[in-house]
Symmetry: C2
Amino acid sequence: MSKRPLKVALLGCGVVGSEVARLMTTTADDLAARVGAPLELAGIAVRRPNRARDLPVDPALFTTDALSLATRPDVDVVIEVIGGIEPARTLLLAALANGASVVTANKALLAEDGATLHAAAEKHGADLYYEAAVAGAIPLLRPLRESLVGDKVKRVLGIVNGTTNFILDRMDSTGAGFADALDEATALGYAEADPTADIEGFDAAAKAAILAGLAFHTKVTAADVYREGITEVTAADVASAREMNSVVKLLAICELDPVGESVTARVHPAMLPRSHPLAGVREAYNAVFVESEAAGRLMFYGPGAGGAPTASAVLGDLVAVCRNKVNGGRAPAVTSYADLRVGGMGEARTRYHISLDVDDKAGVLAQVALVFADHEVSIQTVRQSGRGDDARLVIATHVATDAALAATVESLRALDTVRAVASVMRVEGE
Amino acid sequence: MSKRPLKVALLGCGVVGSEVARLMTTTADDLAARVGAPLELAGIAVRRPNRARDLPVDPALFTTDALSLATRPDVDVVIEVIGGIEPARTLLLAALANGASVVTANKALLAEDGATLHAAAEKHGADLYYEAAVAGAIPLLRPLRESLVGDKVKRVLGIVNGTTNFILDRMDSTGAGFADALDEATALGYAEADPTADIEGFDAAAKAAILAGLAFHTKVTAADVYREGITEVTAADVASAREMNSVVKLLAICELDPVGESVTARVHPAMLPRSHPLAGVREAYNAVFVESEAAGRLMFYGPGAGGAPTASAVLGDLVAVCRNKVNGGRAPAVTSYADLRVGGMGEARTRYHISLDVDDKAGVLAQVALVFADHEVSIQTVRQSGRGDDARLVIATHVATDAALAATVESLRALDTVRAVASVMRVEGE
Ligand SMILES: NC(=O)c1ccc[n+]([C@@H]2O[C@H](COP(=O)([O-])OP(=O)(O)OC[C@H]3O[C@@H](n4cnc5c(N)ncnc54)[C@H](OP(=O)(O)O)[C@@H]3O)[C@@H](O)[C@H]2O)c1
Ligand SMILES: NC(=O)c1ccc[n+]([C@@H]2O[C@H](COP(=O)([O-])OP(=O)(O)OC[C@H]3O[C@@H](n4cnc5c(N)ncnc54)[C@H](OP(=O)(O)O)[C@@H]3O)[C@@H](O)[C@H]2O)c1
C-alpha cells in the first residue's frame, strides 16, 4: 500500500466518539485494506482534554480547539460526534469549505439544517454521510440513497427511538402504566435523566425529517413534522390494542400522497396489528419499514443506539468517504430535486380506533354513525357492549384524512348521548 | 449533463430481465441524474428474439448472439439475468476481460465459481455486483460489503428461500402436512412445477455460500455447504415446535467458530423461538439476521423474489457500477483475504431437540442421561410424559458440536429401552 495516509479529524470523544477512536485503532489494517490507503487520526477535539480516557490513542492528539482541527489543511475527513446545533454546524461548514468530507451522527443538526450542509458539500465537492444519525447501527440511509435508486418509495414507517419502544414494549408485556415503565427504563439506562426528547417524540421527529428528505428527495425539516409523544398512552390503551391483536408503537411515518404530489411526516403513537413486521420489534431495538413501488415491503432492524453499534455505522461511512477520496469520486449527492410540497397533519391519511362511553339506549348507534357519515369517514367495524346503564362503543374507521377524523371526534364529543370519548388512537400498517 | 451515455448490455429478458428493461426505460431520467450520465440499452440477448414481449424498448435491440453483445467494444456494463452456469459464466468472463463491469442475479454461478469471477473482475479493474442473487430485493450484500467494514461478523442466519418459508408458514398456521402445504404453494405460484431446488435446500445452499464468502472474507462454494431440505419436516414436528413456543424455519446459517479460525455454512430446518426476529417472517418473505461484534444484531427483511423486486436490486447495482465508470473509481473488491478454513457439519455448534419413545419404567431417564454425558452433551431440559406402557421424553440440549449431538442420537437409538427416536430437530437463535 503505497498511497499516502488519509488524515481523519475526530470531533467529540464521548459515548460514540470513543468507540470510533477505538475501532479505528483496533481495525486499522482492515480499514486500510478496504480504503486502499491507511487512515491516520489527525486529532480529537473534546471539551475536557485532560479527562482520563481509557483509549488506545496518543494523548497528544486531544485538543479543545475543534475549529483549528476541523480546518487543518492536511485533514481529509472530519467525523463529528459532538451533537447539538452549535458549534457542530459551524465546524462542519468550515470543514466542508475546506474541502474535507464529513461523517456525522448528528440527527438534530441534519433535521434542522440538513439542506445547508448538503449545499455546502455539493459546492465544495465533498461527501456528507450520516448513517448513524437514524437508527444507529442499522445500514438504512445508504440503501435508501443508493440501493433503491430507480425505485419509488411510497411510505416509510419507523420505530426510530429505542427509549419509547422499550417503554411501550414493557407496557405491552407487563401491563404496566406509562410512569412505571418509564421508571424501569430509567433504572436500566434506557432513558436519560431528562427523557423529554425521547418521550415527547422530538428525537423521532428529527429522524422522521431526515428519512422523509432522503425517501422523497424533498427538503423536510423537524419543524415540518407533526409530533405527539407517548406520555398520554395509558395501560388501558395498550390493553385495548391487545384485544384487537395489536400493539401500540411510537411510529415515525413519512408518506407520499396517493397522487405523488406532496409528502407528510409525522410522529405519534399508533396501533399496529401484531402480524406487521414492526410489531415484533421488542425492547430498545429500532426498525424501519419501507414500502416502494418495485422492491415492495422492506424492513431494516437493529440496535438504534449505543456506543459500539453507532460507531460501526460511522466507520462504514468513513470507509465510503475515504474510498471516494482515494479514487477521486463522490457519493451520489443527496438532492431535493423532487421538491414536493410538505403537507400538514390534516392531510395525512390514517385510520382511527375510537372508544366511546355512550347512553345505553336505542338510536345511539345510529346517531353516532351519522356523525361519521357527515364527515365522510367510513366505519370499518363497531363493537358494542353494554355495561350497566351505559354502553361502550369501539369503532375502527377506514382510511380518511386526519382532519376529517379529528373533526369527527370533535363532533362525537358534542353529542348528548356520548358520555365520554374514552380513547382515540391512530391505526397504521393495515 | 454533458457526459457520453453509458452503454448497457442486457443478457436475458425473462421474469427479471423484462422488469429491468422496463425500469431502465421508465426511470431513465432518475437513473441519469444519479449516475451523472444517461444510460443506453445497447442490446438484449434472448433465446427467442421474435417472441412477443410487451416492453417499451426498440424490437431491433433483441439478439440471440449474447457473446457478441457482451463483448461489444462500446459496452460499459453487462447485466446478466439468464441464470445457470453456462453460458452465463463464459459470457461474464468474456465481458470482464473486455473491461465491462458486471451486474448479475445469478446465485448458482456465484456459489459454484464466484472466486473465478471475482478474480477476473480484479484483474481487469471491473466491478462485479450481485445484490439480487441473495434475498432478491433486500439491500443486504452491499451493507455486508460496505457498511459493516471495520466490524466483525460472527454469524449470519437467513431465511433465503421464499418457497420453503411459505410452506413451513402454512404448516405452522394451518397444521397442514408437508405435502398439502407444497400443493398449496404450487397452486399459488410460490413453488415451481419441479420444486426440488427449493424444497431440498439447493437454492438456499447457494445463497449460504455467497453470504459466508462475503461475511467472512473466505472462499466458500455451494459444495462446502451442508444441506438438508424440508421434505422430512412433519406436521408433528411443527406442532411440537409450537408447544415449545417455537416455529420451524429453513435456515441458512454461516458461522465463525468461537476462536475465529474457521467457518461453517449449513442449510437445514431448525426450531426458532417465536421471540426471535426471524420467527415473524411469514409467507414467502425472506430475511437475513446478522450478528456482528460492534453493530450487534441486525436484520434485513423483504421480498426474496419476483420480477420487479429483483429488478429493483439489479438497478441499485447498475447505478453503483455506472457511477464508478463515470468517476473512474471501483467498488471495494470482494476478497477472500481472511482465507479461513471451511469446516464440515460435524464442527458446527448447535442444539438438538429430541423426542424419544421409551419404556415407562424406572431407570430409563438415568440411562438416557448417561448417553448424553458419555458424549459430553449437556441437557438443558427434559420433559417426561407417560402414555400407556411407554413414555415420551422430550429433551433439549445445550450447545455442542453437531458431531457430538449426532453421535448421541445414534447411541440413543441403540438403547434397548428406547423404542423410537420420534423426532430430532436442531434449535437455533437462543
Ligand atoms: N449515544 C448514542 O447511542 C448515539 C446514537 C446515535 C447517534 N448519536 C449522536 O452522536 C452524537 C454524539 O453522541 P454521544 O452520545 O457520543 O455524546 P456525548 O457522550 O455527550 O459526547 C460528546 C462529546 O463531544 C465533546 N464536546 C462537547 N462539546 C464540545 C465542544 N464545544 N468542542 C469540542 N468537543 C466537544 C465532549 O467532550 P468531553 O468528552 O470532554 O465531554 C464529548 O467527548 C450526537 O449527535 C448524538 O445524537 C448518539
Ligand atoms: N425470478 C426471480 O424471482 C429471481 C429472483 C432472484 C434471482 N433470480 C435470478 O435471476 C436470473 C434470471 O431469472 P429469471 O427468473 O428472470 O429467468 P427466466 O424468466 O427463465 O429468463 C431467462 C432469460 O434468459 C434468456 N436466455 C436463456 N438462455 C439464453 C441464452 N443461451 N442466450 C441468451 N439468452 C438466454 C431467456 O430467453 P427467452 O426470453 O427467449 O426465453 C430469458 O429471457 C437467474 O439467475 C435467477 O436465479 C431470479
